[in-house]
Symmetry: C2
Subunit: 337 residues, 2 copies
Amino acid sequence: MLDDRKKRVLQAIVEEYINTAEPVSSNALTKSYGLNYSSATIRNEMADLEKSGYLDKTHTSSGRIPSEKGYRYYVDELINDNDISIEEIKYISSKLETKVNEIEDLTKLTATTISEVTHYTTLSIGPKNDEQLIEEIKFVQLGSRMIMAVILTDNGLVKETIIKFDEDITAKQVETVNYMFNQKLKGKPLETIKGPLEDYLFDEMSYSVNVIKPIIEQIKKAIAEDEKIFLEGANKSFDLPEFNSLEVAKNFVNVLDTKELMEDMLNSGFAQDINVYIGNENEKEELKDFSIVTFKHKVGNKDLGTIGIIGPKRMDYSKVISVMKYISKKLNGNIEE
Amino acid sequence: MLDDRKKRVLQAIVEEYINTAEPVSSNALTKSYGLNYSSATIRNEMADLEKSGYLDKTHTSSGRIPSEKGYRYYVDELINDNDISIEEIKYISSKLETKVNEIEDLTKLTATTISEVTHYTTLSIGPKNDEQLIEEIKFVQLGSRMIMAVILTDNGLVKETIIKFDEDITAKQVETVNYMFNQKLKGKPLETIKGPLEDYLFDEMSYSVNVIKPIIEQIKKAIAEDEKIFLEGANKSFDLPEFNSLEVAKNFVNVLDTKELMEDMLNSGFAQDINVYIGNENEKEELKDFSIVTFKHKVGNKDLGTIGIIGPKRMDYSKVISVMKYISKKLNGNIEE
DNA sequence: TTTTAGCACTCTTTAGGTATGATTGCTAAC
DNA sequence: GTTAGCAATCATACCTAAAGAGTGCTAAAA
């Protein structure tokens, strides 16, 4: 347990380092953070904090930088989760008033807004398939050999995909397909489509395998594909001093380009709505130099997808978390102005 | 006009520099390019080529690198447009056999294939709106306050968008809308939708402005939005030595992140199906360190969109152009195996 | 007991200086 | 027209020295 002054020193070092990206000296703290002690006293505290693992040095006579344990303590105990200015509130409000017709668009809009306010790169992904129920499936004939399947889910999402056939299909066939699919799938989780649909649809529809088969194939593909990741503000990260190391920059581009990595990242455990992963807390080796904050995006209890912020370990956690909390409140109508 | 030996020297320098990214010395050419002259002779030729502007030096006693004029001459006169191996042919063939149901998917697939074979970053965009005719518009009711508009174009593309209303709409209304839109828009270029639709639809449908207005708004938005750019292999560029310059790397990420820039790039003048822009030949200052090869992708006379390759000026033009030409032939069934 | 002044020590950063090696341009010979 | 030979040029790597920032520790002050 840290005493009060140690906490203040740690907080000051974390925040100073977030601002400057330079190791923080004992002298800097006495001047700018109202710690009314001599630099020698601060040095003693810093030595203690280092011994307990909250701070690191880059070399023997350098100033201190926060360790991952230090960041973790800061995020858990010292953060200001209301670090948001009037201007930012106004900007966010105006952005969120934009009318969107699809839920995925709202997720993207939110991600873009977060990226703009925090100046970090954001990733977003739509709601997970296993948390959505199929409300209805519609099949619309678009031509003699082409139909469109439209899947409506309970959280208001619409997924559509096109199916082409090698032979003509009739309106009657489409109607039958429509009936059967709804019969079997209505109310089930979207995830069901990924399973062995053939087995229990073929039985009853064996008379039209060449119609049913491409449909199943295609909607499976569409469902899988729909877990697409949206990326915003990749260039913003490149202005950060961390990215002067080519290795870090390269790693970053690689991470963003590796879709599986990002999916894992966005889908990893959600104890809370906001989760913070600092450096090596990330499961993937490639992410050891980055911090990620994920934000499970909800209105009421409708899942709207997940937004992730990726930035240096020296991320402005207070700002990021404050913005996320504000947006969450705003979208749920819990704002007392 | 260059004499034969000068051409050979220029070609050797361009190709050597493309391979090594290092200034090419006179000595290197006598050894590896079968130019059976002494290095002094080559030096004389190099001095002449430099005087005529085809080569540059990085400093007084360095080897030569191609100037933009040198690359241009190489692309126009010296290129080998059949620089493609059996393995590459096999790989491309297998990729292009993948079944895709939407034309945009074919463009993406092609872009991905090019990226994989050439190891450069590719951008792609679907067919231009003004080159597609509206074949049919379908309106499908998805709920009491939600419909979907599906636009079919003559080149086989399908665009769909969802429209939500503040009040219930009836099947009858949807039917009327369906009739009116098809009446007015069938056979017109997709671009028409961007124009002042209101004027000539409102006249005849003034009785239901609150139905028509959101529809027009939304399909306009959808058409505009649909000119989306697909990006593949951004991380590949980072392995190139050019990207050891942080300024170049940063510029690159900025370019990729700036959608307008990429759109302009993909839509700029098409004298031929394949266009090459070298360094400052690009209209945008930001692209001065890059070369871009655009490829107007067609099957028969159906426009399938545009694919662009972005890489360093030291791009392997022969490979890139060979691959594009091969794919073009393949998709048009003009391959004699 | 806590805080602070003072100072030696450590390490980074910058600048300058030198040697090395690659490559050219030029001259004169082939 | 071609080539050998050689001085001149410049990048690169490596070394050293000096300056500056910051710490750790000791002993004195509060």
